[in-house]
Amino acid sequence: MLTLDGVTLAQGDFRLTADLRIPPGLTAVIGPSGGGKSTLLAAVAGFLTPRAGRIRWDGDDITVRQPGDRPVTMLFQDNNLFPHLTIAQNVGLALAPRLRLTVAQQEQVAVALAAVGLEGMGDRKPRALSGGQQGRAALARALLADRPVVLLDEAFAALGPSLRHEMLTLVRDRLVGQGRTVIVVTHDPQDARDFADQVVLVADGVAHPPRDTAVIFEDPPQALRDYLGG
């Protein structure tokens, strides 16, 4: 269980408070742009130290831990792959940050690539892959990483609707299927409806505790109504 305990985040004049617990499964973070969705993820990943409050994972206080030492892996909006490394090397970084992979680890990389439909593409460089395939490669790395929390910061925003659905299906089947805590920032409420178990609404400087997807869309609170419009 990921817990944000009375957390206050500050960036310049911007303030965001979060007091919530996120259970395993797929959690969508939605809300108006500039509302602090990415800020929330940055704090969980360790790029932003909270002004107040603690962040815990299963009781461990990780508030001030280095990003690389957290139980967290993250997919960004872009630049998820190093262009000068092969796909296999990019994925292999999840297992061996020094890139000296044992034969067994290389085998694991191949299995992960196959799991996302990139079988035999390990020797290619990222630019030889389509945008969707690059997203899959980044997913394969998250799959291999021994990190129970996976953050996706609009990672598939640049893809078209059908490719994005394909990716989110993969995320559901593979990552959530392993029992991980997956947190997805999205600007498309439909994605949240279709894929999320629960929804965190970030608006007006507050990250609200997650609510069941069906429930929150059935009877949206005012802030969500304003965001959805109509």
């Binding site: 280095q66 690389g68 030492d69 999840a94």
Partner: protein, 499 residues
């Protein structure tokens, strides 16, 4: 531990710039005062730098405007040619200018045929001519940058309003760009040594740098050299501090290939473009033309000197890249100051300081090459840092967070992410440093005897002995080495790079 490389680099740079200055200052005999000759050198240094800068910038404005509004075949080549003087060995350019403007040169041949009196390239006029040759292209690139930064829509707007492009767009842009460009060139010309050595000299055309060299080399008057060194540093530091404040532009920038559609063009554009092309290309063509027959004349001494030049250049390139990398990775205000400090220092001051420091312990001649290597590395550092620092910043911005979540740190981060992504800027920076170092005729002239002479120094001695055929051959070899070194390094950085 994390800051150790940057700390070492900072120490070395401070030692070579301020440390050598201190060593020099301690020897300075202020009571001795400045002689009339010293005052003349100061006046000439400031005067020629001011005239060179103003002439370069004044001529650069119409050329840059023509490049900004004309699209033609060979435009890219011309813009590239404008970048060439930066890596061109000074002494090679001087030989080329002599072939055009010198006593037996093309210009005087023409004047003689027309029954007119010949002109002499030696003296103040020649010094300014050579400085304009080197800095007119730089000025064009700096000013062109200002032009291409004006958005295309503004020109469309001006054309629609039938307004004066000059008053509305160009004059305000120039008002911002010209002071910086002028100051940068003024600063470069302040530190001129090789041009003054070859074309100047005598009581009426001696720069402070040249006077330092004469004081050490001929008079062995270290007190006077020290005093002059302090003056030189003060002049450069003042100019650099002013230039630093007013210079937002930088001449390495890309994007100069943009041509904006315009509705005001003048036929004068072609005249300016033709004139600048001839002015830049003719001396180089003459170096090649006269150099080819001279290549057969090159004795074993020249080849040995060429070998020493290449070895020194390789060493100073490696050192300069190490220093630049250490400082670029550290970042921050202090390292950026350390990085530009060598612009205020002069090679001759550094050389004199090291001479004073090393003189009690070792024969300076035996240390001539290592000292030259270090001085060249530090002198090139501002340029290396200007290339590397923004590249490192970009990598951090694009891949820093990814690397952090993956737990990539220190050596792994450097090996897996930063170095592979820095290959292109590293290659370019290496090319600049190698070319500058191979062509350098500065501190080596303070120390070296025949046994340590580098190719530029050997070439200078051939010119001094009026062995012009052999000098022309050496010039061609030096030109090939400098351009070749740049090409190899730059190319090495580009090969097999995944964008």
């Amino acid at each position: 531990m994390r800051g150790l490389p940057a700390w070492l680099a900072t120490t070395l740079v401070l030692l070579l710039t301020l440390g050598t200055l201190a060593a020099v200052a301690l020897r300075a005999e202020v009571g001795h005062g400045l002689s009339a000759g010293d005052w003349a050198a100061i006046r000439f240094t400031l005067g020629q730098a001011a005239v060179s800068a103003l002439v370069s910038v004044a001529l650069a404005v119409p050329v840059a405007r023509a490049l900004a509004r004309r699209r033609f075949r060979g435009r890219g080549v011309l813009v590239m040619l404008l970048g060439a003087p930066f890596i061109l060995p000074v002494i090679v350019a001087v030989l080329g200018l002599l072939a055009v403007f010198g006593r037996g040169g093309l210009l005087n041949a023409g004047l003689e045929a027309a029954g007119l009196a010949p002109v002499s390239i030696y003296g103040a006029g020649g010094v300014v001519l050579a400085h304009v040759f080197f800095n007119l292209p730089l000025a064009v690139r700096l000013i062109l940058q200002g032009w291409v930064q004006i958005p295309a829509e503004r020109f469309q707007l001006a054309a629609q309003l039938n307004a004066s492009v000059w008053r509305l767009l160009e004059a305000p842009m120039l008002a911002r760009a010209l002071p910086g460009a002028t100051l940068v060139i003024f600063l470069i010309c302040l530190t001129s040594f090789a041009v003054a050595l070859t074309l100047g000299g005598g009581p009426r055309a001696t720069t402070v740098e040249l006077a330092i060299w004469q004081a050490v080399r001929f008079d062995f008057d270290l007190g006077r050299a020290a005093l002059l060194s302090c003056i030189q540093f003060a002049l450069c530091a003042t100019a650099a501090a002013v230039a630093w404040r007013v210079t937002p532009v930088d001449g390495f920038g890309g994007g100069l290939d943009r041509v904006v559609a315009r509705w005001d063009q003048s036929l004068w554009d072609w005249l300016w473009l033709a004139a600048v092309t001839v002015f830049l290309a003719l001396p180089l063509a003459m170096v090649i033309w006269r150099g080819v027959p001279g290549l057969g004349d090159l004795g074993p001494g020249i080849w040995a000197a060429a070998g020493r030049s290449v070895a020194v250049a390789a060493g100073s390139t490696a050192l300069s890249l190490l220093l630049g990398l250490a400082l670029a990775l550290r970042g921050g205000f202090v390292t950026s100051i350390v990085g530009v400090l060598p612009l205020a220092a002069s090679a001759l001051v550094m050389g004199t300081g090291l001479f004073l420091l090393l003189f009690p312990f070792a024969n300076p001649a035996t240390l001539a090459l290592p000292v030259t290597l270090c001085v060249n590395a530090v002198m090139a550092l501002p340029f290396v840092l200007r290339v590397l620092a923004p590249a490192v910043k970009d990598i951090r911005a694009n891949y820093g967070r990814l690397a952090e979540t993956l737990g990539l740190r220190s050596v792994d981060l450097l090996r897996i992410v930063i170095m592979p992504r820095l290959r292109r800027p590293l290659g370019f920076a290496a090319g600049l440093t190698a070319a500058l170092s191979i062509g350098d005729l500065g501190v080596i002239a303070l120390f070296a005897t025949d046994a340590q002479e580098t190719l530029p120094l050997a070439m200078y001695r051939l010119m001094g002995a009026y062995r012009m055929d052999a000098a022309a051959g050496a010039a061609l070899l030096l030109l090939a080495l400098a351009l070749g070194a740049f090409w190899v390094c730059d190319r090495g950085g580009r090969m097999h790079v995944d964008a």
